[in-house]
């Protein structure tokens, strides 16, 4: 094809200026429409989501380039040259493809400036998402080139933006079913919406969804290229074949509901540990916080060693809903839970110590009320049993740290009140009795014995 000709096209066509504009618009929207992204996955998915905007722009850029021949009136001269049309359009198509990929990657690079933790977990599942996004832009550019060559009016490019945007923005809401979400066929559209509950860190798009989308996008790109290379009406009609074939194969291959396309990412919740003492382990998706955690971890362990021997020697931090059911932690491990969208680094070291020491370093028991205290219904307060359980754990933590329980946030007033009462009751006892009761709570939590923990602390039912 000629590297020199490709170089000429890259320099002189609209490819590079269009790439710049699309990347700039994309970066602007990435920054302006969301607060800083908590994970790489969120950034990658949002970049796909804004393809509602960038895909029509790429289509228009292709169309703008595609009308060049007619606008420059070079058609007559080119008609007398020897090279057949498929070979002739190859350099400009390649240049636009390069521009599309560059625009997508530059957009991603710019968007990393809005990432909260650039050194955080980069899931392998993000790579196909990025690749398919770039492929979708290439398909847009090629389709645009073909349409521009067929309809060389100065209005073609802006009209394509409007029409494409109309299609991308209006069609999905029409297809959405309130309960079950979008049908899987929505994957036919180049942009992607994230998982419904927003748990970006924990999920990746399934391989099936990725593959079917890849097949479809390749078909669209092939159609665009074939339409561009077609010289006669018959070949133009034949050029529509790939897209029809692609739809016929890809649509049945796609998952029924879009929600089903998002699957758990096992690697995200895998535990990674520090190498030096004391060993601190955390889910991979929070691995950026490992360094900051060692201080609070050490403090928590030393507090436990001082006040409640025998103390654990390592700290593990896991996330709610990570799907691992490992049972109760061994005696040498302090296990605490954080919620997936918790920004661990935003918490102060004191906060972290408090989380670790809640319940004397043992996680809540699943069989007891209050096991998943993550979400409080606003305006209401917890049921009593739950409040008592959480209050007992809170009081244990406060006793270890020798401070008052934290002031109540909305819905937690009952917890705090009960915790304060328990704490006062505890402080009234001699030191070794206090230690014994807290130890009893810890043992009960470790084995998940049934019973009211608050009573354990305040001594209303069988103390030692």
């Amino acid at each position: 094809m000629g590297a020199r000709i490709l170089g000429i096209e890259l320099r002189r066509s609209v490819a590079m200026p269009a790439a710049l504009v699309i990347a700039a618009v994309g970066v602007f929207v990435l920054f302006a429409s969301n607060p800083p992204y908590r994970s790489w996955m969120e950034l990658v998915v949002v970049q796909r989501d804004i393809m509602q905007l960038t895909w029509p722009l790429a289509l228009a850029a292709g169309a703008w380039q595609g009308i060049r021949e007619r606008r420059s009136r070079v058609e007559e001269l080119i008609a007398t040259t020897a090279r057949p049309r498929p070979q002739r359009v190859l350099p400009v198509a390649t240049a636009m493809a390069i521009a599309a990929v560059v625009a997508y990657l530059v957009m991603l690079a710019g968007g990393t400036g809005h990432l909260r933790h650039p050194d955080g977990y980069f899931p392998a599942g993000a790579v196909p998402l990025i690749a398919l996004g770039a492929l979708a832009l290439v398909a847009a550019a090629w389709l645009g080139l073909a349409i521009g060559a067929l309809l060389p009016s100065p209005l073609t490019a802006p009209m394509l933006v409007v029409i494409a945007f109309l299609g991308l923005a209006v069609v999905p809401p029409m297809l959405r079913d309130q309960d079950r979400g979008e049908p899987g066929a929505v994957l036919l559209l180049p942009f992607l919406q994230g998982p419904r509950d927003g748990g970006y860190e924990l999920q990746v798009l399934s391989a099936r969804a990725n593959l079917s989308q890849a097949l479809w996008l390749v078909a669209v790109a092939a159609t665009g290229l074939a339409l561009l290379a077609a010289a006669r009406t018959a070949t133009r009609v034949a050029a529509l074949l790939p897209v029809l074939l692609g739809a016929a194969i890809a649509v049945p291959a796609m998952p029924r509901q879009l929600a089903a396309a998002w699957v758990a990412d096992p690697r995200a919740t895998e535990v990674v540990c520090t190498r030096d003492e004391p060993q601190v382990c955390i889910a991979r998706m929070h691995s950026y916080a490992l360094d900051e955690l060692s201080g609070p971890a050490r403090q928590a362990l030393s507090v436990l060693a001082a006040k409640l021997p025998p103390a654990p020697t390592r700290v593990m931090l896991r996330t709610f809903g990570d799907g691992r059911d490992d049972g109760r932690p061994p005696a040498d491990t302090l296990l605490a839970f954080v919620s997936p969208d918790d920004d661990v680094l935003a918490r102060t070291p004191d906060d972290l110590v408090e989380i670790m020491l809640d319940g004397a370093g043992v996680p809540p028991c699943p069989n007891l009320p209050g096991a998943s205290p993550g979400k409080v219904i606003s305006g209401g307060s917890r049921p009593d049993a739950e409040a008592r359980y959480l209050a007992a754990r809170r009081a244990a933590g406060a006793w270890l740290l020798d401070r008052d329980p934290e002031p109540a946030r909305a819905g937690e007033e009952l917890d705090v009140t009960l915790a304060r009462q328990a704490l006062d009751a505890l402080h009234a006892l001699p030191a070794d009795r206090q230690r014994a009761r807290v130890a009893a709570l810890r043992d009960a939590e470790r084995t998940c014995a049934p019973g009211d923990r608050l009573d354990l602390l305040t001594g209303t039912s069988g103390t030692r």
């Binding site: 000709i5 000429i8 009136r73 008609a79 040259t81 020897a82 090279r83 057949p84």
Partner: protein
């Protein structure tokens, strides 16, 4: 400077004429612009004259393989054009400068000529040298790396000539090549034409009879799609001596007066 010749060319040619048309008919829109034309041209510089609407541009476009003949036969370099699907081999050996020369404004002169050379399937190794040669021959060497939108009208025309000659074509078709050239450039262009005419069949379609008289080895005059006159430029001027017309004055050149005379006589004969 002689153009580079390939082995195939130095072998004895199997055809008599580079351009040979017999009863050629070509449609332009709804009109039959070329209507029963017989033409034979070989190496040399051939001038094509005729009034507006005579079918000159249509003839040139059909030789350039832009238009397909509607009737008769057109044989280029020994190959018949009618009904041929694959004109690639032929198009590699043709150079064409259209009357309305469209170009990519953003490209530099060198890039544009190189692009056309690539479109004519010139071997990649030869292209840079050929491009440089072509640009130098038309006198644009100092503007070779300027964008085409910064060139004046005459320079654009010269760039058009450069793209036509870049592949050393066997048939060179130039439609109004001197439009916009200043007198000095026109003299240089005539010298270029004479140089090219040594081993190429050049067809120059123009209204400037002086260019034809000065540079061409023979002149063809067509009117209403038919051949009116074919002969030497001196014959054209000779036809003026027998003409006493009210429209002409002493300052009009002999060639122009001869052209007028021949045309008038032809029209009188036809009606």
């Amino acid at each position: 400077m002689v153009r580079a010749v390939s082995a195939a060319e130095t072998a004895a040619t199997s055809y008599a004429w580079a351009i040979h048309a017999q009863a050629l008919r070509v449609r332009a829109g709804r009109r039959m612009a070329v209507d029963g034309l017989d033409l034979s041209m070989d190496t040399g510089v051939h001038g094509l004259l005729g009034p507006n609407g005579a079918g000159k541009t249509t003839l040139v476009r059909s030789i350039a393989t832009v238009l397909r003949p509607a009737g008769g036969t057109l044989t280029l370099l020994g190959e018949k054009v009618n009904g041929r699907i694959d004109l690639r081999g032929l198009r590699r050996q043709i150079g064409y400068l259209p009357q309305e020369f469209g170009y990519y404004r953003r490209f530099t002169v060198r890039e544009f000529v190189e692009y056309i050379a690539w479109l004519k399937e010139m071997p990649a190794a030869e292209t840079p040298g050929a491009v440089q040669r072509a640009i130098e021959r038309v006198g644009l060497a100092d503007r070779a790396d300027d964008r085409m939108k910064t060139l004046s009208g005459g320079m654009v025309r010269r760039a058009g000539i450069a793209q036509a000659i870049v592949n050393d074509p066997r048939i060179l078709l130039l439609d109004e090549p001197t439009a916009g050239l200043d007198p000095d450039q026109r003299l240089q262009f005539r010298a270029l034409l004479r140089e090219l005419g040594v081993d190429t069949c050049v067809l120059v379609c123009t209204h400037l009879v002086e260019d034809v008289a000065a540079a061409c080895t023979d002149v063809t005059l067509i009117d209403a799609g038919r051949l009116v006159f074919q002969g030497l430029p001196t014959d054209l001027a000779a036809a003026a001596s027998s003409d006493v017309g009210a429209d002409t004055g002493a300052a009009d050149s002999a060639a122009e007066r001869g052209y007028s005379a021949i045309l008038r006589r032809h029209r009188e004969r036809e009606s």
